[in-house]
């Protein structure tokens, strides 16, 4: 019988029951969704890196790495895998597409995962293993012929398998491309045997009469020169492997860690960003949901006081009554938790799936959503907590005798407010006094309404602010610093004089980037020749500043890492050289990359332009991309719009989370306010009926109800603004390692956030106010208080 009562009571309190389930589902959903996302990124990419033998270190020597060098590195204790590795952007014959032609001597290091076709065969000189996404978008299937050309080498073969490689988890042409374009750029693996065959053909074309022994030596030499990189799997730290490799090979080598590889660093970046986001706003979100649920649960139990007393008077044991009423909490929290887990899974899946947001950025075979044990444990703890609160509420009511429990619940008596007796109080209308006293009489309900609107405003301001901050960041860099219409990427073998000439022809500016070691960091030393104002610099407050004539600008992140101030000297050592340069820091600037920027004159003064690593690699011009003639020393040309578009695509993932947060915040605010509003309506039902009997019109009573909600919402909104800005600053500081963003929260963020928060309060207020039309004065005023 009690079971029937359970169902019927649930029907009576259906609004509260549904809202509690929705609250828990939303809270858990957002929390699980945000946190499962970064955990899933970590686990799925880690598994992919492991399956592909993703290299821990990349040892680079521009002069080439011989097979003897490889043997020496393999002999280093602590090295578990070694493979000479080649990756060059090759043109696809018959189209304007490019593929990263990749050769790894050992498929166990920097290899790939086969998704269709035949396994890799390192002795097969006639076959390719092609990126599956590129193949799919270009209608290429196993068995199809493919030809790619790199410089004057032509590689032709049959596509034997479709693959995915962790080396190209983020498959971009170069650092200038932010988002992959699988339609026009992918990667293809060829065997070392194919490389040897192609080199052999080239040698034979040059020297048709060459004998086999000489040919073998010639091919080996060319191969040794072609392979400039050896990829290594090792658990050693960088210093250890640097020392061991330098000693083994007898020369200083450039060793890049996996953190310097875009696939690894970006996936870790995404993971850390997700972890930071997941640890702040969704936690707050969950806290509001739980608090509101607890308040509602407690109040429902209180409103069942007489029924609890009746059961007790009838002879039901306390244990049975407790079990009965606690089962409401069990049903609500379990249903909410299950729905929340499903919602969280779906939120995560919307991002982390082949067809999801991250699917446009990462290419990997396994997109399994991972919900770690600690998330399950937190959800379980939430369920247990709500059940425990439900239990305590009933237990508290059962403390007295049956007669005491039978008495209807009377809210705490009102006490005088501090304001009373003042002139302001005397001038207040009765409705104002009534509402003010009611707020203090029902403190927990009022506090929850406040926390609900405050928390939602905080999240809305933080979400809109994050959006504004990001847009400001992009505007600063793309409108502020990049004045040019096109950026031309010069090839690595382009002559500096030709690049200067090209810049002159196009009335543009140019820059050279030298990759160098500074302390234990890899930095980009960027040398600019700005005569046409194609590129500008900003200080740490985003004001345009000129490049100093004497000294260089250091970006904010490096300045922080090196604790560098104007007047300090930073020493850099360009990779691939034994040189070092002392750079005078003259200012700190905002930059997209971790860089030190200087004029060509200053670079000349410190001798950097004489370095063999000094190569002009970018030319900036106002000439449109399609007006620039193709030539051998130009790798690619990007219009400013291309860069902005590709960043926009990248930003979609970010915006998705912002939208999820905004929608969830509005929903949370709506549910919290409606739930507490209904509770307030029920608790003041009798008072409103009295007012109605006295002759107050429905509208006037409605205004009373709305105004209390509005006051609390206005207070929550006003205090939520600084709290939202604080939360955003906190988040941005945590994310500071990734971006150099200045928090910007202006009317663009605050106005829509305020409109949404107060809009929800007004809508909910009107929904509840409309209910007073249905107040049954006769029924409401029956019985005793």
């Amino acid at each position: 019988m009690l079971r029937r009562k359970l169902l019927r009571t649930a029907k009576v309190y259906k609004v509260q029951f549904i809202s509690m389930i929705l609250l828990i589902a939303l809270g858990i959903g957002v929390f699980v969704g945000f946190n499962a996302e970064w955990v899933t990124i970590g686990k799925d990419t880690d598994a992919f890196f492991k399956d592909c033998g993703f290299a821990d270190y990349r040892i680079v020597d521009e002069d080439g790495i011989s097979s003897a060098d490889v043997d020496k590195i393999r002999d280093i204790e602590g090295v578990s895998g070694v493979s000479r590795f080649l990756s060059v952007n090759a043109d696809v014959k018959g189209s304007s597409d490019q593929l990263a032609l990749t050769i790894t001597e050992s498929e166990h290091t920097s290899g790939f995962v086969l998704t269709e076709g035949e396994d890799y065969d390192r002795w097969d000189a006639e076959s390719f293993w092609l990126m599956d996404k590129y193949a799919e978008l270009n209608g290429i299937k196993p068995g199809d012929k493919l030809t790619v050309t790199f410089e004057d080498l032509e590689f032709t073969g049959t596509v034997k398998g479709l693959i995915e490689s962790a080396e190209y988890l983020i498959c971009v042409r170069d650092e200038s491309q932010v988002m992959p374009d699988f339609n026009t750029y992918g990667y293809v693996y060829a065997s070392p045997a194919m490389l040897r065959k192609v080199i052999e053909q080239q040698v034979r074309e040059e020297e048709p009469d060459i004998d086999d022994d000489v040919m073998s030596i010639a091919v080996k030499e060319v191969c040794d020169e072609t392979f400039c990189q050896v990829n290594v799997n090792s658990s050693m730290d960088k210093e250890e492997i640097q020392a061991a490799a330098d000693k083994a090979l007898g020369r200083t080598l450039l060793i890049l860690t996996k953190d310097e590889n875009i696939s690894y660093s970006e996936s870790r970046g995404e993971m850390n960003e997700g972890r930071t986001m997941g640890a702040v706003l969704p936690v707050l979100f969950l806290a509001i949901a739980i608090l509101t649920m607890i308040t509602t649960m407690n109040r429902i139990t209180i409103s069942e006081k007489t029924q609890i007393g009746t059961l007790k008077a009838l002879g039901f044991r306390d244990k049975r009554i407790v079990r009965h009423y606690t089962s409401y909490a069990v049903i609500i929290s379990l249903t909410g938790a299950v729905l929340g887990m499903v919602l969280g899974y779906l939120i995560c899946k919307m991002v982390m799936s082949q067809d999801g947001m991250m699917g446009t950025y990462f290419v990997m075979p396994d997109w399994t959503v991972h919900i770690p044990v600690w998330i399950w444990a937190i959800v379980l703890a939430i369920v247990m907590l709500t059940i425990f609160i439900g239990y305590l509420s009933v237990k508290d009511l059962l403390r007295g005798t049956a007669a005491e429990t039978l008495r209807p619940y009377t809210p705490r008596h009102i006490h005088r407010l501090l304001l009373e007796g003042t002139a302001i109080w005397r001038r207040m209308r009765f409705g104002t006094k009534w509402n003010l006293r009611d707020i203090f009489r029902h403190k927990s309900r009022s506090a929850m309404s406040f926390i609900g609107t405050f928390g939602c405003m905080l999240m809305l301001v933080a979400s809109f602010g994050m959006n504004q901050t990001m847009n400001n960041f992009l505007d600063t860099f793309y409108d502020g610093t990049a004045v040019y219409a096109s950026k031309i990427f010069m090839s690595s073998d382009a002559d500096n004089k030709d690049a200067v000439k090209l810049a002159e022809e196009l009335e543009g500016d140019y820059s050279a980037s030298v990759s160098a070691k500074a302390g234990d960091k890899t930095v980009s030393v960027d040398v600019y020749n700005i005569t046409h104002g194609m590129y500008r610099f900003i200080d740490k407050d985003s004001n345009i500043i000129p490049l100093p004539e004497e000294g260089a600008l250091i970006c904010k992140r490096l300045a922080r890492d090196f604790d560098a101030k104007p007047g300090d000297i930073v020493t850099v050592e360009p990779y691939g050289t034994d040189e070092s340069y002392d750079i005078l820091i003259s200012g700190i600037n905002g930059s997209l990359t971790e860089s030190i920027s200087m004029t060509e004159e200053y670079a000349e003064a410190i001798g950097l332009t004489e370095s063999e690593e000094y190569r002009i690699n970018s030319v900036y011009t106002m000439t449109a991309k399609d007006q620039i003639a193709a030539r051998g020393d130009i790798t690619s040309i990007q219009s400013k719009q291309d860069i902005i578009d590709s960043f926009d695509a990248f930003m979609k993932i970010f915006y998705f989370f912002i939208i999820v947060l905004i929608v969830a915040s509005v929903l949370l605010c709506l549910i919290v306010l409606y739930n507490l509003g209904i509770m307030s309506y029920m608790e003041r039902y009798r008072e409103m009926a009295t007012l109605k009997v006295l002759g107050f019109r429905n509208k006037a009573i409605g205004r009373l109800l709305i105004s209390q909600n509005l006051w609390i919402s206005v207070a929550g909104t006003l205090l939520g603004i600084p709290a939202g800005i604080w939360a955003l600053n906190y988040l941005m500081n945590l994310l500071a390692g990734e971006y150099e963003m200045e928090t910007v929260v202006g009317p663009v963020s605050i106005l829509p956030a305020t409109a949404l928060n107060l809009g929800v309060a007004v809508i909910v207020g009107r929904m509840i106010a409309r209910k007073n039309r249905k107040i049954n004065m006769v029924e409401a005023l029956k019985g005793t208080e």
Partner: protein
């Protein structure tokens, strides 16, 4: 002058398939300035009568005219205005607003009643001037009912409608409250209609209306009503 006229008034309640006439074809007229007691057993339709007269409920059929106004056709807002101007209620359970002080509970009607009386003066008259700034829960039941009477009178209505006004009070306090109620009604020239099943109260009335099974069974005019002191409580 007839202040209340019920013309063939029926109020039917429908519950599922079941319909019940709480009042059936009631025809009744009440003179202004009289003290009327409506008597009847539980479920007879007394409260329905009072609710219809007070504009808390609408008749299913028939016409109710109060002070020359047909209230049976008024809209929700017009009924509110009617309640604000023409009738004052006194309930068994006082129905004071717990978050307003005694004085505020009375003066809140100033916002709706165009012809309201002074709350402070009324309080002085009922001997509660010292309690003006206390909250209802700080008063005894009798005191709370006195506040309730003040609130009903503060609107300066034509009619005072009282539903078992002494029902929640002990008999001694009940008599005090009743005496006060009658005195105030007389002093201010109000028609007072009390619904009760206390036969003793009926002894004090000018007119006693008996209701049974939704029908008015008798309307008795008492030429010599007793005073409260004369009634054997």
């Amino acid at each position: 002058m007839k202040i209340v006229q019920f013309k063939d008034v029926t109020r039917t309640y429908v519950t599922g398939d079941h319909t019940q006439d709480a009042l059936a074809h009631v025809d009744l007229e009440i003179e202004g300035g009289k003290f009327v007691v409506i008597l009847g057993p539980s479920g007879a339709g007394k409260s329905t009568f009072l609710n219809l007269l007070g504009g808390l409920d609408n008749p299913t059929s028939g016409t109710i005219i109060v002070d020359n106004t047909d209230i049976s056709t008024l809209s929700s807002d017009e009924l509110a205005d009617y309640r604000a101007a023409k009738v004052g209620f006194v309930f068994q359970s006082y129905n004071l607003i717990p978050t307003l002080t005694v004085l505020e509970n009375i003066s809140l009607v100033e916002e709706i009643a165009p012809d309201h009386m002074s709350a402070q003066e009324l309080l002085t008259e009922v001997g509660l001037a010292d309690h003006a700034h206390q909250f209802p829960h700080e008063l005894s039941g009798g005191e709370q009912q006195r506040v309730s009477i003040c609130r009903a009178l503060a609107k300066n209505p034509k009619i005072l409608l009282c539903d078992e006004p002494t029902g929640a009070l002990d008999s001694e306090t009940g008599v005090v409250v009743l005496k006060l109620l009658l005195k105030m009604a007389k002093d201010y020239g109000k028609t007072i209609i009390i619904v009760t099943h206390n036969q003793n109260i009926a002894k004090m009335a000018d007119i006693v209306i008996h209701i049974r099974s939704g029908k008015v069974t008798s309307v008795d005019e008492q030429l010599h009503p007793l005073s409260a002191e004369e009634v054997d409580w």
